[in-house]
Symmetry: C2
Subunit: 114 residues, 2 copies
DNA sequence: CATAAAAGTGACTTTTTTATCCCTATGGGG
DNA sequence: CCCCATAGGGATAAAAAAGTCACTTTTATG
C-alpha cells in the first residue's frame, strides 16, 4: 500500500494534526515574520501584525510547544528574547510557500470572475 | 526580483487569501472527503465527520463561493446534489498532501519527545 | 395517512477564540 | 523621581464560530 492509500485508511490524522498546529489567527503570520528575520516580539508588533501582546505571547507559546519555534532568552535588561524557526518550522515554511502559490491562483481567479 | 522577494514586499497577501479560504473547522475535511469520492452531503455525514447539517452547508457554500467546489444539482426527488472539486480544489488537495506530510513529521517528533 | 429520505434555512444558544486592560519586573535617561 | 522599553501574565469582555432545534419541500413506501 502506498503512502496516500495508507493515510486515507488511517483517517487523515497527520493532516488533522498539522491543521491543529497552525490554527490560530496569528500563527502563520508569526512564522512568516520570523522567517523574514523579525525574531523579537517587539519587532513583530512594529510590523504589519496588528495583534495585542497578550495574544502574540499565547500563540508564540503554542508554536513553541508544538516544536515549530524555539526561544532564546538573552537574560538582559531590558528583556531580550528571540524566537527562531526549528527544522520543523522551516519545513512548515516550505509548505506555506505552496499555500501561497495556491493563493495566487485563487486571486487570479477572483480577478477573472469580476 | 524573484517571486519570493516580491511576495514578501507585497505583504503576504496571497497566503493570507489562501488561509482565509480554508479557515473553518470542516473545510479541509470536506475537501478531503470529496477527494475520496464522498460527494453527497449525506455521504459526508455518514462518514467520520461529526458535523451538523447546518454547519456543513455553510462551509460547502463558502467553498463553492471561493471556487474550490462546484455543485451539481440533479433536480430529483428526493433531492440529490453532488459537490465536486474544481481545478482549484484539486490544486488545493496537492497542497494538503504537503501539509499532511508535514503533519507526519510533527507526529514523529511528538513521539520522540515522549 | 404516517413515515422516511434528502437538501436546505431561520432563529437561537453555546463554545471557542481574540481582544482589552491592568498588573509585574528592571535598569537607564531626562 | 518619573517614565521609557522590554517581556510576560491574570482577569475579564467582546467577537466570531460552531452547534442545536425546528421547520420546509416532494415522492415513494408500508
Amino acid at each position: 500500500m502506498n503512502t496516500k492509500a495508507r493515510a486515507i485508511e488511517e483517517k487523515i490524522c497527520p493532516l488533522e494534526f498539522a491543521v491543529n498546529a497552525i490554527s490560530g489567527k496569528w500563527k502563520i503570520p508569526i512564522v512568516w515574520q520570523i522567517n523574514q528575520g523579525h525574531k523579537r516580539p517587539s519587532e513583530m508588533l512594529k510590523g504589519i501584525m496588528k495583534v495585542d501582546r497578550r495574544v502574540l505571547n499565547q500563540q508564540l507559546k503554542e508554536l513553541e510547544q508544538d516544536g515549530v519555534l524555539y526561544k532564546v532568552n538573552y537574560n538582559e535588561l531590558p528583556p531580550k528574547v528571540e524566537y527562531h524557526l526549528t527544522s520543523l518550522g522551516e519545513q512548515l515554511v516550505e509548505v506555506l510557500w505552496k499555500l501561497n502559490a495556491w493563493g495566487e491562483t485563487l486571486l487570479k481567479q477572483k480577478e477573472t470572475n469580476k
